[in-house]
Symmetry: C2
Subunit: 353 residues, 2 copies
């Protein structure tokens, strides 16, 4: 039987969130039903539901940083039991058979992965995300939360955590490596924590030193202001690895100049405009410029295990379901340290429209 779920929903980009009741699908044999305890607010949610990444499918519920508890399992489910503490990230399905799926890179599925919201599901419906009381997900796209992390600080790991963990793991960041994290928001703050836990020497690059205390509290070895006179000359050739988490246009050639020979810069933030790149900045010293998009399910589990082992939860501000419109304004203004997380138990107090 379909399962009712109170959700936060928008019916258009400009309307406020409202609480509605939708039906989650009748669980298939390989599905898991999850009662959601916490849902992080990712900037992607805002871009999507404001039509900034193209027209969204309304009415829509967003949210892909989901932490909760398994409340039911389909008859073929082998990996999960009722009561398991689990997470769901940006993906809820993929073909499972293409070269990318076989390489545990479901996010690159050649036949099109199914996103957790605003995506066409295998049954033709549009997926609805995690600002909700529950969700029904194929068991393969569920990950185990570490026992050491609460639901609220674990939820953001499912997007912000894996987005920063994956490039640091892919490029094998290790003790002694000099790592720069550009930007100290939802992604950047997890980048600092994870890079530090891998043993790197971590520098935050920010436009100003306003976040100096926060950077230190997160474990960064230092913070540098890129607007400082002569900054790019002074720090030329200093880093092995740069993780750029900002979505604004930047001077790519200058940032590549901060790398040592054979250094790597990974971008995970997506400015809307084309950037200017001089090939000399890649050729001299053989610099690598690449991008990264979340991570596969196997690596997401590896990230959760790593964060559990090192006690790395997100730094969060917890809000109720009625606070999300205001939280969006604050995210856009950069006024959050470092992630809003919705306490989905607050749905209980609210009548759906």
């Amino acid at each position: 039987m379909p399962i009712p779920a109170k959700v936060l929903q928008k019916t258009s980009p400009d309307s406020p969130f409202q609480v509605a009741t939708i039906s989650r699908r009748d669980p298939r044999p390989d599905d898991v039903v999850i009662e959601i305890r916490a849902a992080g607010i990712c900037h992607s949610d805002i871009h999507t539901i404001r039509n900034e990444w193209g027209p969204a499918h309304f009415p829509l519920t967003v949210g892909h940083e989901i932490a909760g508890v398994v409340t039911a399992v389909g008859e073929d489910v082998t990996r999960w039991s009722v009561g398991d503490r689990v997470g769901v990230g940006c993906l809820v399905n993929s073909c499972g058979t293409c070269a990318e799926c076989e390489a545990d890179q479901e996010q690159n599925c050649l036949n099109g992965a199914v996103g957790t919201y605003n995506s066409e599901d295998v049954d033709g419906t549009i997926t609805q995300g995690g600002y909700a009381q529950n969700i029904v997900v194929n068991e393969k796209f569920v990950c185990k939360l570490p026992d050491t992390l609460d639901f609220d600080v674990a939820a953001p790991l499912l997007c912000a955590g894996i987005t920063t963990y994956s490039p640091l793991a892919t490029w094998d960041i290790k003790p002694g490596d000099k790592v720069a994290i550009v930007g100290l928001g939802g992604l950047g703050h997890m980048g600092v924590k994870i890079a530090k836990a891998r043993g790197a020497d971590v520098t935050v690059l920010s436009r100003s030193l306003k976040k100096a205390d926060a950077a230190a509290a997160l474990g960064a070895d230092r913070i540098l202001a890129t607007t400082e006179e002569g900054f790019f000359k002074k720090h030329r050739g200093e880093f092995d690895f740069i993780l750029n988490t900002v979505s604004a246009t930047l001077d790519v050639n200058a940032y590549l100049g901060l790398l040592k020979p054979r250094g790597v810069m990974v971008v995970v933030g997506l400015p809307p405009e084309n950037q200017e790149l001089g090939f000399y900045a890649l050729i001299i010293g053989r610099k690598v410029l690449t991008g990264s998009n979340i991570g596969g399910i196997k690596e997401t589990q590896e990230m959760l295990d790593f964060c559990g082992e090192h006690g790395l939860g997100a730094e969060i501000e917890k809000i109720g379901v009625m606070d999300v419109d205001a939280a969006y304004e604050r995210v856009i203004a950069g006024d959050v340290q470092f992630r809003f997380v919705i306490d989905t138990s607050t749905f209980d107090d609210i009548a759906a429209e």
Copy 2:
């Protein structure tokens, strides 16, 4: 005692080449004296001596694709003996102690490698290149030529060979990989041969199909015209690896679209302008964009051994020392298949000015 050498020299960017006699340095204990038998003409020679890469030091002799025979060795030389067939490429010295030199990446020497010409040498003189009868080089910057290759077809390997071999080796191109070589000039033709010898499936990407016969003769599996209607859509996601050897502005985003997820594009050609790059083209599918500059001495030797084993000489047009001005015009017009090589024995017939 200093060693006299007839050389081809320009006294200004616009003057024609003239034959002059210069003095090579009195060999130091770790130097090798090489009688040059063949010298390739690289487009870098033209850029340099025409001041297209900044003001050159005149009078200047260029040439960094050098093949010859050892005629004398300093008292501390252990690696070479009189009579050895050897090559010299783009580098004639480096600090030997920095992290890059220790990693056999002398081309990235943090204290500044010494180029074979137009570069300040350790004694403060300006290095003079290989369009010459002889050269005196530190033994560490000399490589052994394979017995199976003549001097003339081996000379271009010292730049065009290593420039294309190094990225193919660095990114571990192996049997079955789908490799695209962009451009079929001096670099591109060696890229095709080396990629094919590594077992890859090789496609030449060219503006037209004019070089179809040449591509086939070099062993390419196919040639495609990038100007064909709908080309970038039709071949989307097709390649594991793209080696871009052209120095012209190109649609980087479109080329990245030709890569499979996690594919790699290496640029070795240097267009003077900044290129336009959308970060989405890197993030979606985690594409890698990087550059490569020649290669270290150890890898240059590895490349020569590989080319010897597989019988991979350059395709050349042999010219005399008096033909170089005309050859430059033909290189600029793209009218060479695929490398001009100067037969330096022709110096013997000419009186120096």
